[in-house]
Amino acid sequence: MTDDPGLMTVLLAMFAGAIRVSTPFLFVSLGEMLTEKSGRINLGLEGTLVFGAMSGYAISYHTGSPWLGVLVAGICGSAFGALHGYLCKLPRVNDIAIGISLMLFGTGLAFFFGKAYIQPSAPRLPAISFGAWSDHPGIRQALEINPLFLLGLALAVFLWWALKNTRYGLIIRTTGDSAPAALALGVNVNKVRLLSTMAGGFFAGIGGSFLSLYYPGSWTEGLSSGQGLMAVALVIFARWNPLACFWAALLFGAAGALGPALQSIGISRGYHFFNAAPYILTLLIMIVSTSPRRSLKGAPGELSITK
């Protein structure tokens, strides 16, 4: 600590930032992963995230219970997922176009209903302190962990296990890899995709409620800075693997903390570059992970972008 306080501060800040900032990335990317595993892309999760943030905040304000807010945000998210799932079932409907329109719809609707909730303060989610063993205030602060983060971690592990080892996991994977094969097995492809998209929307809504109810912890119209869209790139980076989604979310969180952390120890030249770190990372991932010779490893075969 005494040798190089600057480096330690930055590393600690990135560690803390990774935990604080990653949760929305984690939930949205898990939701998107599940949807894509079933063979559809839902680009509307950015709108779901923003609407989840608004509805969670509103419910928490009216009922005084932030956890109820989280639940309602999830339910609203699954409603958006259901809309996406239903519309994409119709013949010759493009899931990407529907996703983009739902993104705009969700954001606009959230702004419309959210007007009344910019001013009031709603009760926020509590944090659990894991840092009592340390007398370093920075470490203590970093280990103030929100239960949703732990829930996201558990969800990632569960999805990883369930997709691999359960009957339902197999059905989702089959639907995503080959719809004719799933049909031959007697699986209702549209129903599986509808339910997967709804579950994905539920997760994205929860990710949104984290933004408004914990960190940064208030509802404003500029709350999301594209987390919902970046999470889509993150799924590709994570190769549709839930555990990798978790690590990728942490990486994106840490990248977001890099700019402010470097400035706080006095390395402030080129802060625009460091502030752009998450976006540069997204771009690099896209470049590195594509190849003209093969489709992406691990990509579900039914996805309209890989077909």
Binding site: Q141, P216, T220
Partner: protein, 370 residues
């Protein structure tokens, strides 16, 4: 498809109806020539606890003035969209005065429209107007650095670590000037005080603002202030980390019931009412209006629970001094790179024009512009 075709007859009918409507609208405008319609464009939501709210509070005060109608539009981006908003206010709502409240509205949008609609008065909320610009355009501005200086005095007496944190949006002149004045206020009462700045690069970016505020607290700052559009996140983060804070733009006192000291607020109301009165009386409007405490264009937020007796006394005295014209920038002051800005004994007037173009931070501020 044939049912969507417009027959010649129905086209004629509808355009005749349109013409009648237009001419009657024109008549009613003439009939109420003494009435003033003011159009106000905001870049964000009107209740953002910040820049837009400060303008909206003033707009609602303006609505109380008899004979004045206010039309507002919020969330207008700094693109061609603002030009469309302003044009529709002029053409549809009959606005004869436009307040464009965001920095990026001026060039080229306000300038273009001012040249096009010469009978409409345009005023823009940043000190950007020059003699070369249209005469029916202009700038109005509150010198908020005076209020940040008073904040600095209170903050300098409130810190124990002597490290003050400043979350700033973009390194433009007004922001840099506020940072410098905040430090000068703190240094006046506490020569050991330093100010650490983190730039977020955007006017509104809540997650990064929260990260910046946390990073400053982790670096040992125990008083935070900011210059971003909506200070809600910074103030709430400071409060939740158990440190003190000073506000910006509008009152954030309710957000920090324990740590709020005071804040730097605009009082646009004074300017808006002044313009409305001038137009109502048929007098020409000034092209460049600016001022601070002396003309009631800026104000300090009432003290919160974080303000100590000593800080209140010193801040009150500092405000009285600035109001009386005592300079904020008193030498010796060096720029960050060590080059002298003011020699010992020299000083800048509080409205020194070169301060409008501030492109430097002064010694005692940690953080880089580039």
């Amino acid at each position: 498809m044939s049912k969507f075709e417009i027959s010649r007859r129905s086209l004629l009918q509808s355009s005749a109806a349109g013409l009648t409507l237009l001419s009657s609208a024109g008549l009613s405008r003439l009939a109420h020539a003494s009435n003033l319609t003011v159009g106000i464009v905001y870049v964000g939501p009107r209740d953002d606890f910040g820049w837009n709210q400060a303008h909206a509070v003033a707009a609602s005060a303006l609505k109380e003035v008899p004979g004045v109608t206010v039309v507002e539009e919020e969330n207008v981006p700094e693109t061609i969209a603002v030009q469309k908003s302003m044009e529709s206010m002029i053409n549809l709502d009959g606005a004869n005065m436009i307040f464009a409240t965001s920095f990026g509205y001026y060039k080229p949008f306000v300038l273009d429209l001012a040249a096009k609609y010469t009978d409409v008065e345009f005023r823009h909320a940043a000190p950007l107007w020059t003699d070369a610009d249209p005469k029916n355009a202009g700038s109005y501005f509150g010198y908020l650095d005076q209020a940040h200086y008073v904040d600095g005095v209170a903050a300098g007496l409130s810190t124990t670590s002597n490290k003050l944190g400043f979350v700033a949006a973009k390194p433009i002149g007004t922001v840099l000037r506020n940072i410098n004045s905040f430090l000068l206020g703190a240094r006046k009462v506490n020569p050991d005080a330093t100010v650490q700045v983190i730039f977020t690069g955007e006017w509104s970016m809540p997650v990064r603002e929260a990260e910046a505020a946390n990073a400053l607290v982790d670096a040992g700052c125990d008083v935070l202030t900011c210059h971003v559009d909506g200070p809600k996140v910074v103030i709430e983060t400071a409060e939740s980390r158990g440190i003190k804070c000073c506000g910006h733009n509008a009152s954030q006192a309710p957000l920090a019931p324990n740590g709020f000291i005071t804040g730097a607020e605009y009082k646009w109301e004074t300017i808006y009412k002044m313009f409305a009165a001038d137009l109502g009386a048929g007098e020409p409007l000034p092209n460049f209006t600016g001022g601070g405490f002396d003309v009631d264009f800026v104000q300090s937020t009432p003290y919160g629970a974080g303000a100590t007796e000593k800080a209140i006394a010193a801040a009150d005295a500092a405000r009285a001094d600035v109001k009386a014209g005592k300079p904020i920038f008193v030498g010796p002051i060096n720029k960050q790179d060590g080059s002298p800005l003011l020699a010992a004994g020299a000083s800048f007037d509080n409205y020194e024009p070169s301060l409008d173009q501030t492109d430097y931070l002064i010694e005692g501020v940690t953080g880089s512009i580039t």
